[in-house]
């Protein structure tokens, strides 16, 4: 559906930027045609964020030109970029927490009617504009941010990891919108690590590696491998398949390392029961807001359960503080790396943290002298030692590796990971997966929550699906393909439509309508039982 004209809407050429000795961008280029959805891809540290910052005016490049509709436009601030028709939507919504939504809209001079239309189209039915931004959940804020950007009809809309940490239903709506905006007057730059999404909505992809544009790929059925190849600079093998680990799998009589019985909280967690054995990796799958946040907070010791109990090695425990959980051998790797790391300190200090804190980390790996352990951890994870000085200078993926490394070095009994690979490139993801598998093999019990369903089969032994605060399915890894998991997560019948299928249907319907010269009609997924729940979810938001 790309325009066949050679004229570009946005053209960035020879963009270079260095920070001292570090070259972030070197003659990078990006050319976007009008009406196309263009993916911008690259591994962590490849220069994507820097390029985006240059385009939006947050950073001034050392060299390079940027033209929009043929006119040169170097923005020096987001405000200026917006005036030039370039709007970005980031992972952290740019909403002021202490102002209500209508004030936020006034601040950016957003036209109200178009905004409301977009909010509706993105799946948030009733939105109370007098709510304070700080009181709304993150997913809602991100949709508002997106609607705000769409409402001013920008020439170029940049979506930076827009679907990261979005629940499946909202991801669906966002992708639908992106797909339907194609062929219009404006273009979309779509930054993402998720191949399936890119494959379903984007026309072309520009790949960056080490600050240079290494290729521009037309999206087709088999372009994924080519893209990954470009990103990594070498042919990438498939992640090795999980082999059965008969030794641990047969220990059915053993007391589970971690057991949860009828756990409930005052929030969205109602009644959850499951267990995790030593040597297992269990994956938790859920749409956003189904109670998984509360579950993890309770297990990590930062919140109290109102009903049910938690047992560690068969003994009931009651945590009043995360330190209690750590003493019980449970370590928690949160999704927000800023919560887990001492940003101003160095990598070494962060990894060595558990040693300096007077907490015994007991686990399958015996503790010995700190230095060799830390060094080994750094080696194992191939943490980019370019910025070993301060953790905050590392890329997101490397930061995540540090958060996990600190527990590897100290020994882990039970590890809880909440969305560990959010917003991380493929290579780092694989490293994290291997790390988690190694941990399990060494005897740890690992519980991870992930919004990337393809991870389940790569890392986990089984998947537990939560919906409405309760466990609705327990699926063995061999059967836990993305489609099955997604249906279970929606609590749907197994023959219901999937998001990609819905998007594909939209695209197909539009193509048909274009051909027939009529208004395209969206297919109504009215037969799904999940549909009624859909309206409940939106009003919760």
């Amino acid at each position: 559906m790309t325009a066949s004209t050679k004229e570009y809407l946005l053209e960035a050429s020879d963009v270079s930027k260095r920070y001292g000795a570090v070259v972030a961008l070197k003659s990078a280029s990006l050319r976007v045609r009008p009406g196309e959805a263009h993916a911008l891809m690259g591994a962590n540290g490849a220069g994507k964020s820097t390029l985006v910052k240059v385009l939006t005016g947050a950073v001034r490049p050392d060299e390079g030109t940027i033209t929009v509709r043929g006119r040169e436009r170097m923005a020096h601030s987001p405000a200026e970029a917006r005036r030039g028709g370039l709007v970005s939507v980031y992972q952290e919504p740019a909403l002021i927490p202490d102002l209500d939504i209508s004030s936020n809209l006034r601040l950016t001079e957003t036209p109200l009617e178009p905004f409301r239309d977009w909010v509706h189209q993105l799946g948030l039915g009733k939105l109370d504009l007098s709510r304070m931004a700080r009181d709304l959940p993150l997913a809602t804020l991100r949709i508002i941010d997106l609607a705000r950007a769409l409402a001013i009809r920008p020439d170029v809309l940049m979506l930076d990891e827009i679907t990261a940490a979005l629940p499946a239903n909202l991801t669906e709506s966002v992708l639908e919108v992106v797909a339907s905006e194609r062929g219009g007057e404006g273009s979309i730059i779509f930054i993402s690590h998720r191949m399936t999404e890119i494959a379903s909505v984007c026309d072309r992809a520009t790949v960056l590696r080490e600050g240079v544009t290494v290729g521009v790929v037309d999206i087709s059925a088999d372009s994924a491998d080519r893209i990954v190849e470009l990103m990594l600079g070498e042919a990438v093998g498939e992640m090795p398949e999980r082999t059965e680990r008969p030794a641990l799998a047969s220990q059915g009589n053993e007391v589970p390392r971690l057991e949860v019985r009828s756990l409930g909280s005052s929030g969205r967690l109602r009644d959850v029961s499951f267990d995790v054995r030593a040597g297992e990796v269990v994956g938790l799958v859920a749409l956003e807001g189904q109670g998984q946040d509360e579950l993890f907070d309770i297990l990590a010791g930062s919140e109290h359960a109102s009903t049910g109990e938690v047992l560690v090695d068969g003994r009931p425990v009651s945590f009043r503080h995360p330190a209690d959980a750590i003493r019980a051998g449970i370590v928690f790797v949160p999704a927000d790396r800023a919560e887990a790391l001492l940003m101003q300190r160095s990598v070494r200090e962060n990894i060595a943290l558990p040693f300096s804190a007077p907490i015994s980390g007991w686990g399958p790996i015996r503790r010995s002298k700190e230095k060799p352990k830390v060094d080994k951890a750094i080696d194992t994870l191939q943490i980019d030692t370019r910025a070993q000085k301060e953790v905050r200078l590392l890329s997101g993926g490397n930061q995540q590796k540090v958060t996990i490394a600190r527990w590897v070095a100290g020994g882990v009994q039970t590890m809880l990971c909440f969305d560990p690979t959010r917003g991380i490139d493929i290579r780092t993801k694989h490293q994290v997966y291997l790390l988690l598998r190694d941990l399990a093999e060494a005897g740890a019990a690992v519980l991870i929550y992930t919004s990337e369903l393809s991870e389940i089969q790569l890392v986990c032994d089984r998947a537990i699906v939560i919906f409405g605060g309760e466990v609705v399915a327990e699926i063995d890894a061999s059967e836990a393909d993305e489609a099955t998991l997604l249906r279970a997560a929606h609590n749907l019948r197994s023959d219901a439509l999937l998001p990609e299928e819905i998007v594909a249907a939209v695209v197909a319907a539009e193509e048909e309508a274009d051909g027939a010269g009529e208004e395209p009609a969206h297919p109504t997924p009215g037969e799904e039982p999940g549909d009624d729940r859909g309206s409940d979810e939106t009003s919760d938001l």
């Binding site: 947050a58 601030s77 987001p78 405000a79 917006r82 970005s88 980031y90 952290e92 919504p93 740019a94 909403l95 002021i96 927490p97 202490d98 102002l99 004030s103 936020n104 006034r106 601040l107 950016t108 001079e109 005052s266």
Partner: protein
């Protein structure tokens, strides 16, 4: 609405209780007492408003007291032995000087990227020195009309002119700003500078504007100091720290982005009245200061706890 202004309303409640307590301690405390209270708190009230604006924008201005001093001595020395009409020009000029002082503070902060607290700390000494250069010792004079504007009562023995003056000036300047996009930007940069930047707000310009307003209200404070005492004072007392105390007590978050200017005004009155009550009770002055501090901490702690409780269901 109640929730938004909850803290301020709570303070008003405390004030009313305190007034009753004062009456009980000192049965003769009446209109004259209220009158005296209003006049004495007028400069500090303006200083509190000045500080509140800086803090809302996620800054802090340690030079408020010095700017007060400077504007006080400039107005006093210019108005001495001059005509009433000239004094009007002086007032306007001094207000403009206040804006300039504030703009200098703000610009330095923005341009040098040195933290607000450090820049204003440095400027504290600069403006204080300038004040002493203008008037080495307290002196100068004040125009009659200015003095009568702040003294006495109007309409009713119970309504002090000072109070009316304060409220009218603050409302006339602050309320239109608060409702405008500029006001939103002020709160925005205080609440989340990055989100504000990404929303297209010019953080630098808004910051400078905030400090300019602080300078303006500091000038009002200096002018009223001259008006109420009749002279200019180069070293007026611990107004800066008291303004910070009033801001904290007044429900303005030191983290920025939250609060208003009327809470600090009520806080100033409460702090002053407490002082008066302790005098009536013959409490040792130094002990009174300690007590004031303890009460300040206590009220802020309780208030914060209540706010925290509300947040977590």
């Amino acid at each position: 609405m109640i929730r938004r202004h909850g803290w301020t309303l709570g303070l008003v409640g405390i004030l009313l209780v305190l007034l009753v307590v004062t009456r009980i301690i000192q049965p003769t405390y009446g209109a004259a007492g209220v009158q005296g209270l209003a006049v004495s708190v007028l400069p500090l009230a303006f200083a509190a408003v000045a500080q509140a604006i800086a803090v809302i924008a996620r800054g802090i201005d340690l030079s408020v007291g010095s700017m007060m001093a400077l504007t006080s001595v400039i107005s006093a020395s210019l108005m001495e032995d001059r005509s009433e009409g000239f004094a009007v020009l002086v007032v306007i000029g001094v207000l403009l000087i206040g804006c300039v002082l504030g703009a200098v503070n703000g610009s330095l902060i923005v341009v040098t990227r040195v933290p607000d607290i450090v820049v204003t700390l440095a400027m504290l000494f600069v403006w204080a020195g300038c004040a002493l250069l203008v008037l080495g010792t307290p002196g100068g004079g004040s125009a009659e009309w200015l003095r009568s504007l702040t003294g006495g009562s109007i309409l009713n023995a119970w309504i002090p002119k000072a109070a009316l003056l304060l409220l009218v000036i603050v409302a006339a300047i602050w309320i239109p700003i608060r409702r405008s996009r500029l006001g939103l930007s002020l709160y925005a940069i205080g609440s989340d500078p990055l989100a504000a930047y990404r929303s297209g707000v010019s953080v630098a310009r808004t910051k400078i504007f905030a400090y300019t307003l602080t300078g303006l209200f500091s000038a009002f404070a200096g002018l009223t100091l001259t008006a109420t005492t009749g002279i200019g004072t180069p070293v007026p007392g611990p107004y800066t720290l008291l303004s910070v105390a009033a801001v904290v007590l007044g429900g303005v978050s030191l983290a920025g982005g939250r609060g208003g200017v009327f809470g600090p005004i009520v806080a100033v009155v409460i702090l002053s009245l407490l002082r008066t009550d302790m005098t009536f009770l013959n409490v040792n002055t130094n002990l009174a200061t300690v007590a004031q501090g303890l009460i300040l901490v206590g009220v802020v702690m309780v208030g914060s706890l209540l706010q925290l409780r509300k947040r977590e269901p």
